[in-house]
């Protein structure tokens, strides 16, 4: 493993006048599937050339702009596909002390189980070679074929000793609610290896974003992740995952966070009525949520009255220590670190959201 010090660019030196950030949603992108070819065996390259990749339908609502055009590297390749450019365009000028890589790739949603496993391990190898090795500020989400838990656990065991992988990645819409028994071997492997579980919005394994079926417009898809994530959190609590794996931590990325307080009230209420159905839920659900769930800021809530934002954080109470700054660079709806959070919030709180909460969660 080659460890290089990040070059002292002018942007990096100038960036140091700003507060240091930890960015919990930083996208390393493939320009095309061919970027993975150096990390795939010939057998799989030929398979992809002949049969392509194939996931279930409905995952992708075409959008007017996928990435920020102004983040495109000079080569013309996709925004976010070149580490050196991402470093110069974002990490250095914004004084990003650490960024958590979240790759959104065809891996994790293939109908062909072996292809899914092969792609997952190739993406992880790509992350090591082109992102983690040359840039020590980065940490990575581990891609696993999460719908095939046996293969997922094998990949986790393969990678666990590389502590730069800090969490295992789920898409926002897995085949079953995340608390279901199918996924427990993955949670067991994560808990044993000190890895968090992370759910990033969007992606699909064939389920619509709503509880009523398929939406017509990208707009609907765009505001949908909150619903999906709520369902997954409720499932993890109700099935007793956090009782079975007390060390497990869930990170919710790009699903919003404003809905957490009201979800906790509603869950606690329902639990007092229905506790006997779920004896595995030994404590009020809000306690599990407060102890096990972290949430990123982007896309940040933008209430019509600015004071509502402070009121929202009051409702979080101590759980503000679980709110993590995220930029979502280089996607079109990413948040500008300078303007994501109201600047009139108490400095101690801003320090926690921009830096300290993530530092503690990821041991940085």
């Amino acid at each position: 493993m080659v460890v290089t010090t990040a070059p002292e660019t002018e942007a990096r030196v100038r960036g140091r006048t700003r507060r240091a950030l930890i960015d919990c949603d930083f996208h390393d992108e493939l320009d095309s599937i061919k970027d993975l070819y150096p990390y795939l065996s010939q057998r799989w390259r030929e398979h992809i050339e002949s049969y392509g990749t194939r996931g279930p339908g409905g995952a992708y609502y075409p959008r007017f702009m996928d990435h920020r055009e102004d983040a495109r590297p000079p080569s013309g390749r996709r925004s976010g596909s070149e580490m050196a450019h991402s470093r110069k365009d974002f990490l250095d000028p914004y004084n990003v002390a650490h960024a958590i890589l979240i790759p959104l790739t065809p891996a994790g949603r293939q109908m062909n189980p072996e292809l899914d496993a092969a792609l997952a391990t190739a993406v992880n190898d790509w992350q090591v070679a082109e992102w983690l090795d040359p840039e020590p500020r980065l940490r990575a989400s581990m891609i696993v074929p999460f719908e095939y838990p046996d293969a997922a656990v094998r990949e986790i065991e393969r990678r666990a000793s590389d502590k730069r992988f800090v969490q295992v990645q789920f898409s926002g819409r897995p085949h079953e609610p995340m608390g279901r028994r199918k996924y427990w071997p993955i949670y067991e492997a994560c808990a044993r290896n000190g890895l968090h579980v992370m759910s990033h919005a969007f992606g699909s394994y064939g389920n619509p974003i709503t509880g009523s079926g398929w939406a017509s417009f990208y707009l609907e898809d765009h505001v949908g992740p909150a619903q999906a994530m709520q369902g997954n959190i409720v499932s993890l609590v109700a099935e007793g995952v956090f009782e079975a794996f007390p060390e497990l931590k869930l990170v919710s990325v790009e699903n919003g966070f404003g809905w957490i307080p009201s979800l906790m009230w509603r869950l606690d209420n329902a639990w007092t009525l229905l506790r006997s159905e779920v004896p595995q839920v030994k404590r009020p659900p809000s306690e599990y949520v407060r102890e096990h769930v972290w949430l990123t800021t982007q896309p940040v809530e933008e209430p019509h009255k600015p004071e509502y934002f402070s009121q929202l954080l009051e409702q979080f109470g101590e759980m503000t220590s679980h709110i993590l700054f995220a930029s979502d660079y280089p996607h079109w709806d990413s948040d500008n670190p300078d303007m994501a959070l109201p600047p009139y919030l108490p400095k101690a709180l801003l320090d926690r959201i921009y830096y300290e909460n993530a530092r503690q969660l990821y041991g940085l």
């Binding site: 007017f64 702009m65 102004d70 709806d333 500008n336 300078d338 303007m339 994501a340």
Partner: protein, 140 residues
């Protein structure tokens, strides 16, 4: 204060030029022969608004119907796609409360005469000589 930003034929219809004036980045647009200038900073999160795409105006009276006027005068921010009317700086989604600062643009010409071997340009007192298009920094 007026600033000279370009020769008129430097910004043909459908094109734009981004300039720095008095510490502000300002985009100058030529829409069908008329010039407009907007602050190159989106009021949402500060993105470089004037680098965004210019669209026509798309309206719908009923779902499934549409009316598209092809004059490209809706400027969209490259960050989050917020839309502003390039003529007025008004936001499409919140025209009463949200706007981006606009600036006056004029194209000026000077009287030229030839006397003997010499070419004369008449410049009214107090203005810089030569180039024609200028942007007034007095904001509206």
């Amino acid at each position: 204060m007026k600033h000279v930003v370009a020769a008129a034929d430097e910004i043909p219809p459908g094109s734009r030029k981004i300039v720095d004036l008095e510490g502000r980045s300002i985009g100058v647009f030529n829409v069908d022969g008329e010039y407009f200038a907007l602050r190159n900073r989106c009021p949402h999160q500060g993105g470089a608004l004037c680098e965004g795409k210019l669209w026509g105006v798309l309206k719908a009276d009923v779902p499934g119907g549409f009316e598209y006027s092809s004059t490209r005068e809706i400027l969209t921010c490259p960050w989050h796609g917020w839309e502003f009317h390039v003529r007025t700086g008004q936001s499409w989604c919140d025209p009463m409360r949200l706007r981006v600062r606009r600036y006056d643009v004029s194209v000026e010409t000077y009287k030229v005469s030839v006397e003997g071997r010499y070419v004369f340009v008449e410049v009214p007192t107090g203005r810089p000589a030569a180039a024609p298009a200028s942007v007034s920094s007095r904001a509206r």
